[in-house]
């Protein structure tokens, strides 16, 4: 089902029955939601769609902030450490602090280490 535009589709048709292209796979989002806790049993149809947009906004914000760090370093390649710096510098990303910290300490020289 193709829409004229992602957003006009949402506004006109509401969300029921809308199966147009999203930038993120809804089934995967739903899986991740279910994994977040035992309490999460039932998820409405529109919740993954809401998340699809929310995740897009999240990625955009974190990317922009990371890019500012990249530019401060006069570089053109956005690196994992730039993301870590952006996380640390932003209050609402506090929940990610441990995640980026583990990333940087466990994969120092070999980011593609195979660890199981």
């Amino acid at each position: 089902m193709r829409q004229a535009g992602r957003y006009s589709g949402m506004l006109c048709g509401g969300l029921s029955g809308r199966s147009g292209p999203h930038s993120l796979p809804l089934a995967r989002i739903k899986k991740i939601m279910k994994k977040s806790g035992d309490d999460v049993k039932m998820i409405s149809g529109e919740a993954p769609i809401v998340f699809s947009k929310a995740c897009e906004l999240f990625i955009e914000e974190l990317t922009q902030r990371s890019w500012m760090v990249t530019m401060q370093g006069k570089r053109r390649t956005l690196h994992k450490d730039d993301v870590a710096s952006a996380v640390i510098a932003t209050d609402i990303f506090d929940f990610l602090v441990n995640l980026v910290d583990n990333n940087s300490s466990n994969s120092m020289d070999n980011p593609e280490d195979i660890s199981s």
Partner: protein
Amino acid sequence: MVDNIGSYSCQKYNFAGASSASGEDGIMKEQDRLLPIANVGRIMKQILPPNAKISKEAKETMQECVSEFISFVTGEASDKCHKEKRKTVNGDDICWALATLGFDDYAEPLKREILS
């Protein structure tokens, strides 16, 4: 040779030391825990200037961050449902959780789009 071609789908070997809230990652395949790197990378690229480059590790870190974001917000939304004795997490709950956790910038555009 085959391994190289499938390098994007071999994410399950690249743990990158990420710590996840759920303790059952051994059962869930790595790919299921993360959103596809191609989608994540595309959203990142779209927000950056044309001459920007993104390292693979940065995209992988972003994948981890998004999954953590989904878990974090879902957890909050699910708690609310639980308290209100509702079984299904819906779009409004997600919007509420986003606003509660400091992502009110996202909640408003989302609500406007979802309104049906």
